[in-house]
């Protein structure tokens, strides 16, 4: 059984929908700018990847608006687009044959911030009953499942920025256990004042003010990351089931997955990323020589960049494979980061072009990586590796393969 990606839905700061996003990433066009949802001028960090052209009532049923956080509205939109893209009509499929597996890292900050304000100023009776689930990590899975009538095995995964890849891995597992179609991915958003300070508290958010020079993974001047909102939702299917419903076009195959956890600090043992890469390759039945491009995690923090460069070098050798971090244009999207990178990688495989790591200019020689800088690079591509790391030790890797050309 192979697991195919048959549809994608993208909600990104530099493109609402797959086509505008892909065009922006190829051109290295940034979706970063000063936060405009509140007065950010007195905060130490001011830049974020905001989705400014999303008008929720155009995309989300009216009945769902009073009960959803911005993150869930984006997730619902991406999921609907992914199903449409996959030409999968949930009403024509069996409800228990469809599942939903999403990742989430932030929950519903904006919604909760507003309800907490009511709690303090008007008392508990003014707090929306919908707060009971609107804040919750599993809410995107739940709302997508309810809206589309998908009653098969469903779950939510939380592993900071690595969680989105873990969700895809668990979607694959769910399909292998007998659910033919699973909607999966991740979307986050936390750009209200409370969400913003919570992100700043992590200590790694860039305080730079030039969007083109704020998030510089693997650059000599790396000094933190820019957070963003959005992500991607994908439709994953068992190849036989996709074939049976007449869906022959696919983006590619989810060929290998692995997740590892870092050892405790001070243990002296190496971080788990290299092991995740090797395990994912083994899972895919491939070797390092089969990988044509790596979509790196790209933390944008010097010691983390060095560790990732080391892991890539250990597996592929010095300058052994092209590496790119297109997420410099969107910011780090937490649970949305991995799935969006997967979409980007699938488009790269389809079109034979690697988008650049926009903004980065100068990579330290000792990193030993072939980072795609400046402009996109054309190359024959068959296999891509996507990496993601989540704060506090999560490492995840997935291997994607281009669909076999039909003969």
């Amino acid at each position: 059984m192979s697991i195919l990606i048959t549809g994608v839905g993208v909600v990104a700061p530099n493109g609402l929908g797959l086509e505008p996003y892909w065009a922006a990433v190829l051109a290295g066009r940034f979706g970063l700018g000063p936060v405009t949802r509140f007065d950010v001028s007195r905060y130490p960090a001011t830049l974020a990847g905001q989705i400014d052209d999303f008008h929720a009532p155009d995309h989300v049923p009216g009945r769902l608006l009073p009960q959803t956080d911005p993150s869930t509205r984006l997730a619902l939109t991406a999921a609907a687009w992914a199903l449409q893209d996959a030409k999968a009509d949930p009403e024509s499929l069996t409800d228990y044959d469809m599942g939903v597996v999403t990742a989430n890292a932030c929950g519903g900050f904006d919604f909760t911030h507003r309800e907490f304000r009511k709690l303090w100023t008007e008392g508990p009776k003014s707090v929306s009953v919908y707060e009971s689930f609107a804040w919750f990590y599993a809410v995107n899975t739940g709302q997508i499942s309810i809206r589309h009538g998908m009653r098969g095995p469903s779950s939510a995964l939380v592993a900071e920025q690595a969680g989105g890849l873990d969700a895809l891995a668990h979607a694959r597992r769910t399909i292998r256990r007998g659910t033919p179609l699973v909607v999966s991915g991740g979307v986050d958003s936390a750009l209200d004042p409370w969400g913003w300070v919570s992100q700043l508290a992590g200590g790694r958010v860039s305080t730079a003010t030039d969007p083109a020079r704020a998030y510089l993974p693997f650059d000599e001047q790396a000094a933190g990351y820019v957070p963003g909102e959005g992500g991607a939702i994908l439709v994953l299917e068992d190849s036989a089931a996709a074939e049976a419903r007449g869906r022959h076009e696919t983006y590619g195959e989810l060929a290998g997955c692995a997740s590892t956890f870092d050892p405790a600090p001070g243990s002296g043992r190496p971080p788990g990323l290299e092991r995740a890469i090797r395990l994912a390759l083994t899972d895919a039945g491939l070797g390092p020589e089969d990988v044509d491009v790596v979509f790196a995690d790209g933390a944008g923090v010097p010691e983390l960049d060095a560790a990732e460069a080391r892991a890539i070098g250990q597996v592929f050798g010095s300058h052994g494979v092209p590496v790119t971090v297109p997420k410099t244009t969107t910011g780090r999207l937490y649970s949305g980061g991995g799935p969006l990178d997967v979409v980007t990688a699938l488009m790269s495989l389809r079109e034979g072009v690697i988008p650049p790591t926009a903004g980065v200019r100068s990579v330290p020689q000792e990193y030993g990586i072939d980072l795609v800088l400046g402009e996109s690079r054309t190359a024959p591509l068959r296999t891509a590796l996507v990496l993601a790391r989540g704060r506090w030790g999560f490492n995840s890797a997935v291997v994607l393969r281009r669909p076999e050309p039909t003969s």
Partner: protein
């Protein structure tokens, strides 16, 4: 005599609290239409009851709100309490 709640007041509160259901005409005669039919579940009714309480000062316990089937029943409940208090 206390100001009584009209169906239009209730309609406004319903939409405020739980949104509008696409494809259902709330502007029509919904007095005896079941909440279920126009897409309002028990959570929507709890939210509506809380809003009615803060706006009209009528306490509707959650278990009572969950048992109300139609806008007419809810109106009678609220207006009965308002009349009693007056």
């Amino acid at each position: 005599m206390a100001t009584l709640l009209t169906i239009d007041d209730l309609r406004r509160v319903l939409i405020e609290c739980a949104g509008e259901t696409d494809g259902t005409d709330l502007s029509g005669d919904i007095l005896d239409t079941r909440f279920e039919t126009i897409g309002y579940d028990s959570l929507a009714l709890m939210e509506t009851a809380a809003r009615l309480e803060s706006r009209y000062g009528v306490a509707i316990p959650d278990d009572v709100a969950g048992r109300v089937d139609t806008p007419r029943e809810l109106l009678d409940l609220v207006n009965g309490a308002l009349a009693e208090a007056a």
